[in-house]
């Protein structure tokens, strides 16, 4: 392999989840000098600054990390808001209950989950995964919730009847585990 140290370091910074310190990089490339690695990091930083792209290499307290420039924040905020891939476990559980039990009252969801779900419901509404289906003719006219078309899109479902039942999952038997 004939990759330059600079590009090797770059690939590590690109794939890393957290900032990388020169020492960490040295640990991964023990045959290289720590000094050499530090020089390469500084050079990369200069290079990216000079390239004037939408992201750059930033020296943060813990090391070096690629980050987008602040001026792109509004676009990226929109992106992160729009990707429903960031559902927390409680959110996913709540969504599952709504999907399987719809139309359903908030109280019923809370009874099933044993906790307040107000915040989660707001978030799911905002992400367009659930919707208000109507109101129940009960005192206080409580709201009934159901899933949206967007929910189907996001979960790659043709229609609600395509949701596999727990029974069908069970019938598949045991999955192999790695």
């Amino acid at each position: 392999m004939n990759n330059s140290l600079k590009l090797i370091v770059e690939s590590l910074l690109f794939a890393a989840v957290d900032p990388l310190t020169p020492r960490q990089i040295h640990g991964l490339l023990p045959e290289r000098d720590l000094k050499e690695i530090k020089e390469v990091l500084a050079a990369l930083k200069d290079e990216y600054e000079g390239m004037k792209r939408s992201f750059t290499l930033v020296e943060v307290a813990e090391g070096y990390q690629f980050r987008t420039l602040p001026s792109y924040k509004p676009y990226i905020a929109n992106l992160l808001g729009a990707t429903p891939t960031r559902l927390s476990r409680p959110a996913l559980e709540t969504l599952t209950i709504i999907a399987y039990k719809q139309p359903i009252l908030r109280q019923e969801i809370e009874r099933l989950r044993g906790v307040d779900v107000g915040g989660i419901i707001r978030m799911l509404l905002k992400k367009g995964l659930i919707r208000v289906v109507g109101r129940k003719p009960l005192p206080g006219k409580p709201i009934i919730y159901g899933t949206t078309k967007r929910f189907l899109e996001v979960f790659d479902l043709k229609d609600l009847s395509s949701l596999p039942t727990l029974k069908e999952i069970e019938e598949l038997g045991n999955g192999e585990e790695e």
Binding site: F14, T85, R89, L92, R113, V115, I169
Partner: protein, 236 residues
């Protein structure tokens, strides 16, 4: 039974047949049926001798092979030839398709597979929950818990279809109960939680209570190996 894993490398009859075709270095178009049949049966005998359960699929193929072999040994007439050809196709046809997909699978594995050969930025959380990323202590994910729960239900209510019903049991009460039990004992088992012959709604309440306790990080769950009973401990 330690032998099983060493010998039982063939996933099914097609896998075994394909192996025999390769070992004998013959073409699919021209399989020496008699030889292959004998070797196939030898393998089944070996399995029997080692007390390995032979799946039904293996036996079906064995009888097809034997039928074909006997046909071929008899003096042939025009009509027999046709039948023999049909029988051969019955075996070779699926084998051919199987080989095709095996090759395609190899091609797929040879691509630049993400997170093996090439890497994207940041972490790969995707939709799958329960990778323990958010600092929870769960070593088993929600999917597995669900399945474990289904097992309990199947044992206690063999013919019930599970659905989320509005319950008469309070999850909050169950949370308190489980907390108490886990704090009292070092480790309790998943199956123990459901050992009482309660109603479906009670079991669901216990299950949801458990999910909640895992979620908030009060309980850590472990599984020694896939399929084992899940162990619960108070998380320190």
């Amino acid at each position: 039974m330690t032998f099983t894993t060493k010998l039982d490398v063939f996933e099914g009859p097609l896998d075994l047949l394909l192996h025999l075709v390769k070992v004998n270095e013959v073409d699919l178009a021209d399989i020496p049926i008699a030889t292959i049949t004998d070797q196939y049966l030898e393998y089944l005998d070996l399995m029997k001798a080692l007390d390995i359960t032979i799946a039904g699929d293996f036996l079906v193929m064995a009888s097809t092979l034997m039928h074909l072999k006997s046909k071929m040994l008899l003096p042939k007439q025009e009509q027999d030839m046709e039948e023999i050809e049909e029988l051969v196709e019955e075996i070779v046809g699926p084998l051919r398709e199987y080989m095709q997909f095996k090759e395609a699978a190899e091609d797929l594995a040879a691509r630049n597979v993400l997170s093996r050969d090439v890497f994207k930025r940041a972490s790969d959380t995707y939709f799958m929950i329960g990778e323990g990323k958010e600092g929870t202590t769960a070593k088993v994910n929600l999917f597995e818990l669900m399945i474990a729960f289904k097992r309990v239900m199947a044992r206690q209510f063999p013919d019930t279809v599970l659905s989320f019903e509005a319950e008469t049991w309070s999850v909050k009460e169950k949370i308190a109960e489980i907390k108490k039990r886990v704090e009292g004992q070092k480790t309790i088992y998943f199956s123990e939680l459901f050992s009482s012959k309660g109603s479906i709604s009670e079991l669901i309440a216990i299950f949801l209570a458990l999910l909640e306790l895992v979620r908030v990080g009060f309980i850590a769950i472990f599984q020694p190996k896939p399929g084992d009973d899940i162990m619960l401990q108070a998380f320190k």
